[in-house]
Amino acid sequence: MLRYLRTRQAKLTPILLLSPALFTMLFVVALPLLFSLYTSLTPYRLTRPETIETFIGLRNYIRLFSDPDFWSAFGRTILFLAIALNVEFLLGLGIALLINRITWGQRTLRTIMMFPMMFSPILVGFQFKFIFNDNIGILNNALQSLGITDQAIPWLVDGKLAMFSIIFAEVWMSTSVFAILLLAGLFAMPRDPLEAAKVDGCNSWQVFRHITLPFIMPFAFIAMTIRSLDVARAYDIVSVMTGGGPAGRTELLWTLIARTGYENSRMGEANAMAYISTILSIAFTYFFFTKLVAARRYMGGAE
């Protein structure tokens, strides 16, 4: 009997300990999400509160799927994420390998590396709005003073350049997540396999490809998981740098949601879009998390 009670208690304790967390997540995230799922099935407008009671089924979604503005924002978001994440990974890997080889001042370098990660995205946006400003920005000023160009390059006014500037800001902010975690992976790497491979006559590319890279991949997936948790931070950057302009050329899914919901007060449609963006984020995170679990298993982790 006593034993039964004890095992029962041991089973209940973790649930009890987790319950505040679950309660918070249910109340602040799950419940609102249910509400927004319902709202996405109504033509709700903030200006006409009674519209929330009209049920229109999937009409919002159908309308979105035939809306070219939505598709261009959607495609742009995917492209933006694909470019930003790949560049961040490659740069981060390069930086980690670089710092790993430096023996003097490594700690200081690592600390400096960490700073962009802690910048508020809104500050990163402001900072690059300032730097890329066509009239007074340091970049154009420098280019002109050095005599490289005598014109003011419209970094944030031209559609393509604006997209480039935004990706630059995003990469500046988030590369350090990759660099720091990959560096931690390099630090944790055992020396023996490297030396054994050298003795067996592998060249440095082979060593990197077959020993170093597989070892640090789990760290890369941690970084990817962490990154995919808050890819939507780009919203902050875009809203301060261009606000989706010029003429919607830098409109991402997230800025389109804000515009539809708050500025045009078409909440029903915005909620439908928000749902699509949520599913997109969840898919990203889930994908990288399963990769992480697989890599961990490959390494002989605990689970």
Binding site: A30, S120, F126, I180, M267
Partner: protein, 285 residues
């Protein structure tokens, strides 16, 4: 080419790459900080003034409302709101996260990985997407534009990450320590506070700093859930400086310094533990 020369060239290349990297990382931030101490006239000057003639604290005096020519933006209030909201939500998230992290680190239960992933997926919801229903619900509950409303949201934003980190820190402490204490007559509760908590303390502090900075820096939700000086935070207040046609660059830069300095100091203090927590929790599963 001789071997020695080759090595020297390689070392030089390494140094050059590192130098370039540090320039790209630090110049944008430093330029904003420098601009915070320069008069607007100098920032707007054409041709550009590269070397500041005189650094001034005027911009800071202006945004904080000292002297005659103050800006009509209540930065001091925003600062206080940010401090209260980020501080309170961090403390609550830490308490919840400690309980949850301990459960993940020390107990075996069914579907453990699924629970963990589930918590993480809640965190994935984009801020702006979550802001829509929260905005509607909070207006109904009457807590829109209050500190309380934002604190509740930030707690839920921080709980998953706090659990991730704290789980990692507790795992690094061998379970045998607290078992030994329990054999010697401590209850599990006492063993936790006397043995495991002190050992994980610095890690928990790192998780706290991370949570604090997440709230301190957050914009997407805050920009929609706050309206007035009752609850507006610093990142939202930063947007006050941009009107349709003009931007007060000097004022904005000064405010940027106000936001960034606490963040950098806190990061500097906990960076080591933060890296350890993120990697350990993630890799060792």
């Amino acid at each position: 080419m001789s071997r020695a020369l080759k090595n020297k060239l390689r070392a030089a290349g390494l140094w050059f790459a590192t130098f370039l990297l540090m320039v790209v990382i630090s110049v944008p931030g430093l330029w904003v900080v420098l601009s915070g101490f320069r008069p607007n006239r100098e920032i707007l000057a054409k041709p550009p003034v590269w070397i500041p003639e005189k650094l001034t604290l005027n911009n800071f005096a202006k945004i904080f409302g000292f002297g005659q020519d103050q800006v009509a933006i209540p930065v001091l209030e925003y600062f206080r709101n940010s401090l209260v909201i980020a501080g309170t939500s961090t403390v609550i998230a830490l308490i919840i996260g400690m309980a949850g992290g301990y459960a993940f680190a020390r107990f075996r239960f069914r579907f453990k990985n699924t629970w963990f992933l589930g918590l993480m997926l809640f965190r994935t919801v984009p801020g702006i997407a979550l802001s829509l229903p929260v905005f509607m619900l909070w207006s109904r509950l009457g807590i829109i534009d209050t500190k309380l409303g934002l604190i509740i949201v930030y707690v839920s934003l921080n709980v998953p990450f706090t659990i991730w980190l704290i789980d990692g820190f507790f795992r690094q402490i061998p379970g045998s320590l607290s078992e030994a204490a329990q054999v010697d007559g401590c209850t599990r509760w006492q063993a936790f506070w006397r043995i495991e908590f002190p050992l994980a303390r610095s890690g928990i502090a790192a998780a706290g700093v991370f949570a604090f900075l997440t709230s301190w820096n957050e914009f997407a939700l805050a920009s929609q859930l706050t309206r007035s000086t009752d609850s507006k935070t610093l990142p939202v207040g930063l947007m006050d400086f941009t009107s349709q046609f003009t931007i007060d660059w000097a004022g904005m830069s000064a405010m940027a310094v106000v936001i960034i300095v606490p963040a950098l100091i806190l990061t500097f203090i906990v960076q080591k533990h933060l890296i350890a927590g993120l990697t350990f929790g993630g890799v060792k599963g």
